[in-house]
Symmetry: C2
Subunit: 215 residues, 2 copies
DNA sequence: GCAAAAGTGTTATAAATACACCCATGA
DNA sequence: TCATGGGTGTATTTATAACACTTTTGC
């Protein structure tokens, strides 16, 4: 490889996170408002450019920390966005991640060195985003819908104990439809993703509900 | 984004293909012998660096053409290899693809501007490879084992008609184990990946076999 | 006592697995 | 006639899907 070949140069790597939450039965994603060109004043997913010294996952975590203040997020790589024209300034390969978090247990900085606002947006009320982030977000939503049935990706949404009705509501919000409540219980309990804690408590002011936790 | 930030610069993208075939019941992968530094005289997977003007898939196809002569390969992206130290000369993000082809229907160039040899290697006789290609190949093999049951990824291995025993042997070779022959037929025919052509012919010198094709 | 929320079971269908014998052909 | 290879069916288990009533509690 001739590292002086100009065609190999001036390329970079974008790391881009779709960070989801469910709050009050609404499926939401974290967006930031950019305070730099390009796309100054536009909303975007959380992300930025990878340093040449970093693993991409390390870069993703650094960017999330810089632009939201959040640390220790669990992230799953899910796809690559590689059209050369997806960034006008320079060829940037887009590496896209999914994260899920309980928005009540984290504090998101509204302003940082590079952002002037940050907020959780309902999935069906997403504004036009910077770069190709609308496309990336669409793909992330579809991926998340499959991941919730195969992985413990919702673990951070319920880091402590939770009741099955609470988890059920989160599933319905993410899927955008009401699935069968009894089959949901059966499936979740037959997989070994969650286990009962033995506690039960009145959460909704009606009947007591049993508590579970992710294994 | 400040495109003059030196941390963003001097990064590149490697595209790397694990190109598989099955020949005489042996599961094989195409390796090339490098004729350039780094890793001169080492065997490696087929690949190279992406131009900043290219989509990564376009780059992958160009590299395959340059280093093997093959065109029109169907390729599936399957994972990213991003350790900054995976290439000593420059930070190179590794984008890994899988391809499958019938080695008898293609001609692979033994020598090119950048390679001094090329050959099909049995999967359990892989030499030490350049870069992190041994690791990438291992991951590609595992991915292929799942893809053959969900996709038509073996279509190019049987571009024309084939008999079910032929396809069965390819599956066993790839999986490295003999699966149940009757269940294999049932599963393949119940999915809608293949369909009968109506022809049958004596292929092995014994009983006639029916021909199928990928839809 | 009634509205709201939690808990529970059965049946039907589809998919996955395990397993053994008969037929056609060429040598 | 026998060795080789191709073709086929059934029973079991497991996963998925559809579907309705009872219990607890606060008001």
């Amino acid at each position: 490889m001739n590292i002086n070949n100009p065609l190999y140069k001036d390329q970079g790597i974008h790391v881009i996170a779709s960070i989801f939450t469910v709050k009050d039965g609404k499926f939401k994603v974290l967006l930031i408002k950019r305070d730099n060109e390009p796309f100054k004043d536009k909303w975007s997913l959380v992300g930025g450019a990878c340093y040449r010294t970093e693993d991409v996952l390390t870069a993703m975590k650094r960017e999330i920390k810089e632009k939201t203040g959040m640390k220790n997020l669990k992230l799953s790589f899910f796809d690559l966005f590689s059209k050369p024209e997806r960034c006008a300034l320079m060829r940037m390969l887009g590496v896209a991640y999914i994260g899920v978090i309980d928005c009540d247990r984290v504090e998101v900085m509204k302003k940082t060195a590079k952002t002037k606002d940050a907020d959780w947006f309902e999935i069906d009320r997403i504004p036009p985003l910077a770069y190709d982030h609308n496309e990336i977000l669409e793909a992330a939503i579809e991926k998340l819908k499959s991941l919730i049935f195969d992985t413990d990706i919702l673990k951070e949404l319920f880091p402590k104990n939770f009741t099955l009705p609470e988890l059920y509501k989160a599933y319905c919000a993410i899927l955008g439809e009401n699935i069968d409540r009894r089959n949901f219980r059966k499936k979740l309990l037959s997989e070994n993703l969650i286990e009962p804690t033995g506690f039960e408590e009145n959460v909704t002011g009606k009947k007591k509900a049993k508590f579970y936790k992710f294994v």
